[in-house]
């Protein structure tokens, strides 16, 4: 198989997409937002619970989409739980750089390694928006909700 395909659809990604973590609705969410990719019609809803300490206490997502968008959402929800808003934004910045094939800075080793499973997306420019949908939606939820679009 084509190496770039193998990297894109590696086992970790497929596992996340088949068995997404934090999937479902979060009752009593403090922040929610909906994301939409007009290119394919995929939708996602992100539910966040911000704790009093300013950290993301819980996060869930709902939606249907391709393996890349589902895996990305699953991975994201795993990673941002417990983070402050600023930390989540730094993580997002790193992620966006990673999938666009740009230099990734400001991430700790652990986060970087975890995110790295998505690095294969950079070889598929047409699929970058699939990977970033959940993240843009999360950002929109943190900024007070509403809706996010990939374009």
């Amino acid at each position: 198989m084509d190496d770039s395909l193998r990297e894109l659809y590696q086992e970790v990604i497929l596992d996340h997409s088949r068995h997404p973590r934090h999937f479902g609705k979060l009752e009593h969410a403090t922040n929610t937002a909906q994301g939409y990719n007009p290119l394919c019609g995929d939708r996602i809803t992100i539910y966040l619970m911000l704790g009093e300490n300013g950290r993301i206490a819980d996060v869930k997502f709902e939606g249907k989409g391709c393996a890349i968008s589902q895996a990305s959402a699953s991975l994201m929800t795993d990673m941002i739980t417990g983070k402050t808003i600023t930390e989540a934004e730094i993580l997002m910045g790193g992620f966006l750089n990673l999938v666009k094939g740009e230099k990734v800075e400001g991430l700790n080793e652990d986060d970087r390694e975890t995110l790295n499973v998505m690095a294969g997306v950079s070889a598929f420019p047409m699929r970058v928006k699939c990977a970033t949908l959940a993240w843009h939606t999360m950002k929109s939820a943190l900024e007070g909700g509403g809706s996010a679009k990939t374009e």
Binding site: D2, L5, Y9, C40, D42, R43, C66, A67, F124, R127
Partner: protein, 414 residues
């Protein structure tokens, strides 16, 4: 190519392929298998050469100068209009308006024909399989003029029941807008029957012929259709040009759409009067080089036995339909009898974009998404489909490559 690619018709796709340089291209080291023809078809050398030769030898602006080149360019532009007239079997060149594409052709009808005739509560009948270009212009009239959109559902196989459509046409219906061929399902609508039913109630019909003009032999007089929109780039011609056929009486009754040069009779400081159709609807410098390309594309199509081309495309569809039957995880959306060579499907547990990405790496270009037909996606309960659409230059061997790539995608993704 294997002997298997040879079809027993008077049309030889392998010979036609030689006219398309791009088809011998490789992508990711694999031979290109281009199955995204419903989005846009590739251009034969005859089209590219005609445009280049015209631009190199005969080009100037049209209808303006008295100089030599202006005359040759005008002749070619008007000759292209005659070619489109012949292609559609319209009675007069004055019934052919050049537009920048199918979308603009439909918008022209919306703005110039229908908008002035709409009172709040008046109805526009359209089917759920319409492309957004045959939906949004009518939504404009809903938003701005208070029109009501009446949607006609399909049978589960994607076919359109003329009785269902007839029942939707009421005393307030001002237009029926329907695809000749669905860009997603390949369904061929019973256009002649639809027109007869609508006319019996005094309602005109617009057909979106962007796919229909490619796969059917269109006879607007035989169909008695009021408006027929087509686009060049799906007809093996260039982008940036399309055409609207409209009955002369309709065109004469229509107000201008864009204002500018070429479309006037006389302009003074106090007033303006407009040119007769079709010039009235062709403001500004038109797509001149593209018109020559479009004419070359139609001549190219007509150089074949079009019945044989259609038989070849139907063979490819049937072959592909049979091929995917082995996949119990694949659901074909649209199985209407006599449909055109467009195969849309949904794959269980696999998103269309993942499927299309893997097919792409095998050299197979298909479309994944909602195909600008979201009401249709909703009708069939899917967010998106994968679509393979076959053109005259495709072969059974290419279908085999697609089938093998689908099996591979299944292996990777599940």
């Amino acid at each position: 190519m294997t002997a298997q690619s040879k079809i027993n018709t008077a049309f030889d796709p392998l010979a036609a392929r030689k006219d398309f340089d791009i088809l011998s291209k490789t992508v990711y080291g694999k031979p290109l298998v281009y199955l995204d023809n419903a989005a846009s078809a590739q251009k034969p050398r005859q089209v590219l050469d005609a445009m280049r030769d015209f631009a190199a030898k005969e080009y100037a602006n049209v209808h303006r100068g008295v100089h030599y080149l202006s005359a040759t360019a005008t002749d070619r532009y008007e000759a292209a209009r005659e070619t489109v007239r012949g292609f559609l079997n319209a009675s007069s060149v004055d019934e052919i308006v050049f537009t920048k594409g199918g979308t603009e052709a439909i918008n022209l009808v919306s703005y110039s024909y229908l908008a002035p005739r709409i009172q709040p509560g008046d109805e526009i009948v359209l089917s759920v399989m319409e492309h957004h270009s045959n939906i949004v212009p009518w939504h404009f009239l809903r938003e701005r003029n208070g029109a009501v959109l009446r949607w006609v559902d399909l049978r589960d196989d994607g076919s359109l029941d003329v009785e269902t459509l007839d029942a939707a046409i009421g005393p307030k219906t001002k237009l029926v807008a329907v695809a000749h061929i669905s860009n997603v399902l390949g369904t061929v609508t019973p256009l002649k029957e639809i027109v007869a039913r609508a006319h019996a109630k005094g309602v005109p019909v617009l057909a979106d012929g962007c796919q229909g003009a490619v796969h059917e032999i269109v006879d607007v007089r035989g169909l008695d259709v009021d408006f027929y929109a087509l686009t060049g780039h799906k007809l093996y011609g260039p982008t940036g040009i399309g055409a609207l056929y409209a009955k002369k009486a309709h065109l004469k009754s229509m107000q201008p759409f864009n204002g500018g040069g070429e479309m006037i009779h006389e302009v003074t400081r106090a007033a303006v009067s407009y040119a007769d159709p079709p010039a009235r609807f062709e403001a500004g410098t038109p797509p001149i080089i593209e018109s020559v390309g479009l004419a070359a594309a139609l001549d190219y199509l007509n150089s074949f036995d079009r019945v044989a081309v259609k038989a070849h495309e139907h063979d490819l569809l049937a072959y592909a339909r049979d091929g995917v039957r082995q996949f119990n995880w694949l659901r074909v959306i649209g199985d209407a009898p006599g449909k055109a060579s467009i195969l849309s499907f949904e794959a269980e547990g696999m998103h269309a974009h993942d499927l299309a990405t893997i097919l792409d790496r095998e050299g197979v270009a298909v479309r994944a998404g909602h195909h600008c037909a979201q009401p249709l996606m909703e009708r069939f309960g899917v967010a998106s489909t994968t679509r393979a659409s076959f053109a005259l230059y495709n072969t059974r061997t290419e279908v085999d490559v697609m089938i093998a790539a689908l099996a591979k995608a299944r292996k990777i993704l599940t």
